[in-house]
C-alpha cells in the first residue's frame, strides 16, 4: 500500500485506488486522523460521519476486488457543506433556527457523487444560511484559515474550503449565491467552480436567493474540479474540450479599481505569465458593471427575506444578529425596486455576453483582498477603509446575477504567503469549456 493522502490530487489517488495500490479504508482513516488532529483548531466540520464513512470505504474496497470499479471518484473522501441534505443527518445551515431532524434523502448532487463512488466524510461549517462572506457567524463558531488561524478562510463555504485546503478530504461541495465558493477558494488557494445557473440542481439545498443560488465543487486543481463537476451532473466522464483560441478579455474598469496592492501585483504578474505562455489578454470592459452591486443587493435581499419571512416572525432571536438584520433588511425593499433590479440583471447579462465575444473567457481577480483578519468589518485599500462585505463580493456577485459560469484558480501568494485567486468567466451553458480553459491557464501559471 502507498502513503498517498487526501491532499493528493484526485486523479492520482484514483489511479492508485483502481490499481489496488491504495485501499479506500486506509485513505479514509488518514482523512479521519487528519480531522481529529486539526479540526479542534480550524472548526471546518459540523459533523464527522466516522462509522458510515468506514462502512462505505470497506464496501468500496470490496467493489474494487469484485471488479466493480465506478470511476475516478471511487473511494475518494469528500465533504459536503452543511446547507445540503445528506440522508440520515440534519441539515443545520449552521443556524440555531433550523431543526435537528435528519434529512429524508440525499440532495441530487450528493446522491450523484455517492453513485460515482465518493465517500462522504462529513458535513462542513458555513456562514449561517450562507448569508455572509467570512464564515464567522455560525452556530458552531467561526472557521479558521489553515495558514493563519487569526484570519477568516472566506465564506460562506468556509468549512468546505478548509476541509480541502488542510488535506482533511480530497474535494468538497459548496454553494455560491454571491461568491461563496470562489471567495474562500481564492483566500485558501483552491479551485472553486460556480457552474452556469441551473446546470446543477439545487434541490435538497437550503435556499438563500433562489434565482442566484448555485452549487459547485471545491478542489485542489482544475482536473479534480472537472471530475467532480462531471459526477455532479451525473456524467461518467469529462467531455473533451473544443477549440481553445487562447484569447482572454480583462474587464479592467470597475473590477480592477479597488484592489489590495499585493493582490494587484500578483494578478498582473499572472497575466504576464499567461502572455508568456502564448495567451492573448485584451481589454473586455463590461458595460454598466458599476451597477452590479446595487442590482445584486436588491435581488438577494428580497429573495432571502422571502425565504426566511415566516421563520423570522416565529424565531427571529434564533438567528445570529448580523444575519438576522440583513434578512430583516430585505423585508423593506419595495417591489418596484426588485423589478428595477431584475431589469438591471437583464441588461448586465447582455453586457457580459458582449464582453465575452471573441474571447475564451474573461479574466479578473477572484477576491480583491487576501484573507481578512477574523472580526474585521473594514479593510484598508489605498489608504482608505472599505466595507469588508462589499469588497469581498465585488468581483464575483455579478456572475451570480447573470448566470455565467465562473471559476477561481490559484495564481500566486502575497509576501506573507496568503493565496491570491484568478477568476475566469465563460459563456452560459459552456461550463465544461470554461474548465478546459482554466486547466490550460493553470498549466501556464504553475509551469506544470
Amino acid at each position: 500500500m502507498t502513503s498517498l493522502t487526501p491532499d493528493t490530487p484526485v486523479h492520482r489517488l484514483a489511479a492508485a485506488i483502481e490499481a489496488t495500490e491504495l485501499s479506500v479504508r486506509e485513505l479514509v482513516e488518514t482523512a479521519l486522523e487528519r480531522i481529529a488532529g486539526r479540526d479542534a483548531t480550524l472548526n471546518a466540520f459540523t459533523l464527522v460521519l466516522h462509522e458510515s464513512a468506514r462502512q462505505a470505504a470497506d464496501s468500496a474496497d470490496d467493489d474494487i476486488k469484485a471488479g466493480r470499479y465506478r470511476g475516478p471518484l471511487h473511494g475518494i473522501p469528500i465533504s459536503i457543506k452543511d446547507l445540503i441534505d445528506v440522508a440520515g443527518v440534519p441539515t443545520t445551515a449552521a443556524s440555531h433556527a433550523t431543526g435537528r431532524s435528519p434529512a429524508h434523502a440525499d440532495a441530487p448532487v450528493v446522491s450523484r457523487l455517492r453513485d460515482a463512488g465518493a465517500i462522504l466524510i462529513g458535513k462542513c461549517n458555513l456562514h449561517e444560511f450562507a448569508f455572509g462572506t467570512t464564515g464567522e457567524d455560525s452556530a458552531f463558531g467561526p472557521t479558521r484559515h489553515p495558514l493563519d488561524v487569526t484570519r477568516s478562510p472566506g465564506g460562506s463555504s468556509s468549512g468546505s474550503t478548509v476541509s480541502v485546503a488542510d488535506g482533511m478530504v480530497s474535494a468538497s461541495v459548496g454553494t455560491d449565491t454571491g461568491g461563496s465558493i470562489r471567495i474562500p477558494a481564492a483566500a485558501c488557494g483552491l479551485v472553486g467552480l460556480k457552474p452556469t445557473f441551473g446546470e446543477l440542481p439545487c434541490d435538497g439545498i437550503v435556499p438563500l436567493a433562489p434565482s442566484l443560488d448555485h452549487v459547485g465543487p471545491l478542489t485542489r486543481c482544475v482536473a479534480d474540479a472537472q471530475l467532480m463537476f462531471a459526477a455532479m451532473r451525473g456524467r461518467t466522464s469529462v467531455p473533451k474540450a473544443k477549440g481553445i483560441t487562447r484569447r482572454l478579455g480583462c474587464p479592467r474598469p470597475y473590477f480592477l479599481d479597488t484592489l489590495d496592492t499585493e493582490v494587484r501585483v500578483v494578478f498582473e504578474q499572472a497575466l504576464e505569465r499567461l502572455r508568456a505562455a502564448a495567451w492573448t489578454v485584451g481589454a473586455s470592459p463590461i458595460r454598466h458593471a458599476r451597477d452590479a452591486a446595487t442590482v445584486c443587493l436588491h435581488l438577494v435581499l428580497s429573495e432571502a427575506a422571502a425565504v426566511h419571512a415566516s421563520s423570522l416572525d416565529r424565531q427571529g432571536d434564533s438567528y445570529s444578529a448580523g444575519v438576522r438584520l440583513r434578512l430583516e433588511l430585505g423585508r423593506y425593499v419595495l417591489a418596484e425596486d426588485y423589478v428595477r433590479a431584475q431589469r438591471g440583471r437583464t441588461v448586465l447579462t447582455a453586457a457580459v455576453d458582449d464582453a465575452l465575444a471573441d474571447q475564451d473567457a474573461l479574466v479578473l481577480p477572484s477576491l480583491a483582498i487576501p484573507a481578512s483578519p477574523l472580526g474585521a468589518d473594514t479593510v484598508d485599500i489605498d489608504g482608505r477603509p472599505v466595507s469588508l462585505r462589499n469588497v469581498m463580493l465585488r468581483l464575483t456577485q455579478l456572475f451570480n446575477a447573470t448566470g455565467h459560469p465562473a471559476v477561481s484558480i490559484p495564481c500566486g501568494h502575497t509576501a506573507t504567503g496568503l493565496p491570491v485567486g484568478l477568476q475566469l468567466v465563460g459563456r452560459r451553458g459552456h461550463t465544461d469549456q470554461l474548465l478546459a480553459v482554466a486547466a490550460a491557464c493553470e498549466t501556464a501559471l504553475t509551469g506544470d
Binding site: 456524467r235 451597477d291 452591486a293 443587493l297 436588491h298 435581499l301 425593499v333 431589469r343 437583464t346 451553458g429
Partner: protein, 61 residues
C-alpha cells in the same frame, strides 16, 4: 414613494419592531436604491428591456 419617504417609514417601522441595529443598514440600502433608480438603463424603465439570448446551448447531462 420617494427615497426619503421610504427611509423615514422604514426606520420608524424598524424602531417599532425594536430592530435597533437596522437603522444604519436602511440608510445604506437607501443609498443603493437611489443608485439603482438612477441607473442609465432605468431612465427608460417603462420600455421593454431587450432580452439576452436565452436559447444558449446547454449540453445534456
Amino acid at each position: 414613494m420617494t427615497g426619503d419617504a421610504w427611509l423615514a417609514a422604514a426606520k420608524a417601522d424598524a424602531a417599532r419592531r425594536q430592530l435597533h441595529g437596522l437603522a444604519p443598514l436602511l440608510k445604506a440600502l437607501a443609498a443603493a436604491t437611489r443608485a439603482l433608480r438612477a441607473a442609465e438603463w432605468n431612465q427608460h424603465a417603462a420600455s421593454r428591456p431587450q432580452e439576452p439570448n436565452q436559447t444558449h446551448d446547454v449540453p445534456d447531462a
